[in-house]
């Protein structure tokens, strides 16, 4: 069980070539912007077609260039939370979430909706538009919408980047709760070292379209595989937009 990804894609002189496999765990894709992390998510979800490779989830083939298999995004069971959340501005909170459950029977759908509304503490906001709720609430709507049809996989593309620290901490807690409820592979793209360290079962480090190191957080922080990785995870050379104090890190890198 789990997700296995092997793909090659050339776009405008950028070459992405990665191969990795995870189980029902949370993997953080970590690296500078432009390293190919978001592109990988797009390929997994079916929004972008790789030139070559295979994408398999729980033994279902989503993409296999050799066998000419390319399951359209609509038929892939992927919950995808976009960086800008992509909530439909013309739909209420309830309609946004319900929109994710179109595959379910009507009674089942309404039941799931009620469950998601309360699990994500959105009761009372049913009829608000996305423009009328806070950043943290928008996040929860986006997560509820992505999860309501119980996808086989959850993709999170820097979903917390626009939030302040307090709300980020709350979102991390929600994400931990989600993982107790859903035993599926979760892929989180982030620039935030603290978040990577705090959330990841496994960190996959991207650089220039390749993977430079994979491992559990402590491995990566204790023995970075190359000066590249060390530069990425060495806080002294790392600008931290979130402003989280470095002493919060359970296992500081080389000091």
């Amino acid at each position: 069980m789990g997700l296995s990804v092997s793909l090659k894609k050339k776009v405008n002189g950028f070459f992405l070539e990665v191969e990795w496999e995870i189980g029902d765990e949370l993997a953080v894709l970590f690296g500078h912007s432009g390293a190919g992390k978001s592109m990988t998510l797009q390929a997994i979800s079916g929004l972008m077609e790789p030139d070559e490779g295979t994408i398999r989830i729980n033994n279902t083939v989503y993409f296999d260039s050799a066998a000419k298999i390319n399951v359209p995004a609509q038929l892939r069971s992927c919950g995808y939370v976009f960086q800008d959340l992509a909530l439909f501005p013309h739909m209420t909170v309830k309609d946004n979430i319900r929109y994710g459950a179109s595959g379910l029977e009507k009674s089942e759908r309404e039941e799931a909706l009620i469950k998601m509304m309360s699990a994500f503490r959105l009761n009372g906001l049913e009829n608000r538009l996305p423009s009328e709720i806070s950043g943290g609430q928008k996040q929860r709507v986006a997560l509820a919408r992505a999860l309501i049809r119980r996808p086989g996989l959850l993709l999170l593309d820097e979903p917390f980047s626009a939030l302040d620290n307090q709300v980020r901490a709350e979102m991390r807690k929600i994400l931990r709760d989600i993982r107790r409820e859903f035993t599926i592979p979760v892929i989180l793209v982030t620039h935030d070292l603290f978040e990577a360290n705090a959330m990841a079962d496994r960190i996959i480090i991207y650089s220039g379209g390749r993977i430079v190191q994979t491992g559990v957080p402590s491995e990566i922080f204790h023995s970075p595989a190359s000066p590249d990785v060390e530069a990425l995870i060495n806080p002294s050379g790392f600008t931290r937009p979130s402003g989280v104090a470095l002493s919060f890190q359970p296992s500081p890198a080389s000091s």
Partner: protein
Amino acid sequence: MLDGSALFSLRLSLQVASAATVFVVVIGVTAAYFLASRNFRGKEVVDILFTLPLVLPPTVTGYYLIILFGRNGAIGRFIYEWTGWTIMFTWYAAVLASFVVALPLMIKTARAAIESVDKNLINASYTLGHSRTGTAMRVILPLAKKGIIAGGVLSFARAMGEFGATLMLAGNIPGKTDTMPLAIYSVAGSGEWSGAHAMVAVFTLISGTLLYIANRFGKRMI
């Protein structure tokens, strides 16, 4: 202010423009959607064909319509053979002429509105399991609604004002096909200035109001 025949013309103009706008909205929005969101061979040619009536002299557009829909026309011939009916010199011809001339305004405005819908929202809809058609109906078109309404109102105004192609295809038959622009032409031609003044004033007022509505929805669409 308006006499009986002028009122007839006004009513006919509204009727022709309304009928033409129904077709303009249905066909124009469909065409705009495909032009905005799909890539297909000959897309540019299709775009140019739809846009041509915007720049061609209406007499040239009317001429093409006669070649196509006239009693001996490429399509009109078959209609005449089967039914003994021709669209020429009926108010339907005025609808056809107005439709063709107003269609580009709808397509241009709706296409711009559809293209401005955030691509991420469309992708989100796909990842939530919705088909392209479902996404078009529930995400793209609702979000492009303002532009589509603006395009519809502009098209209505343009259809109201159609003169050249209508004259060639429907003629200027008093009490039958003389829409307001044609009636103004006749009245002014025969020197009845007071009647012309009134019709021109009413027409300007209606068109101005329509433009105001279109601007309210479309924000500087034209």
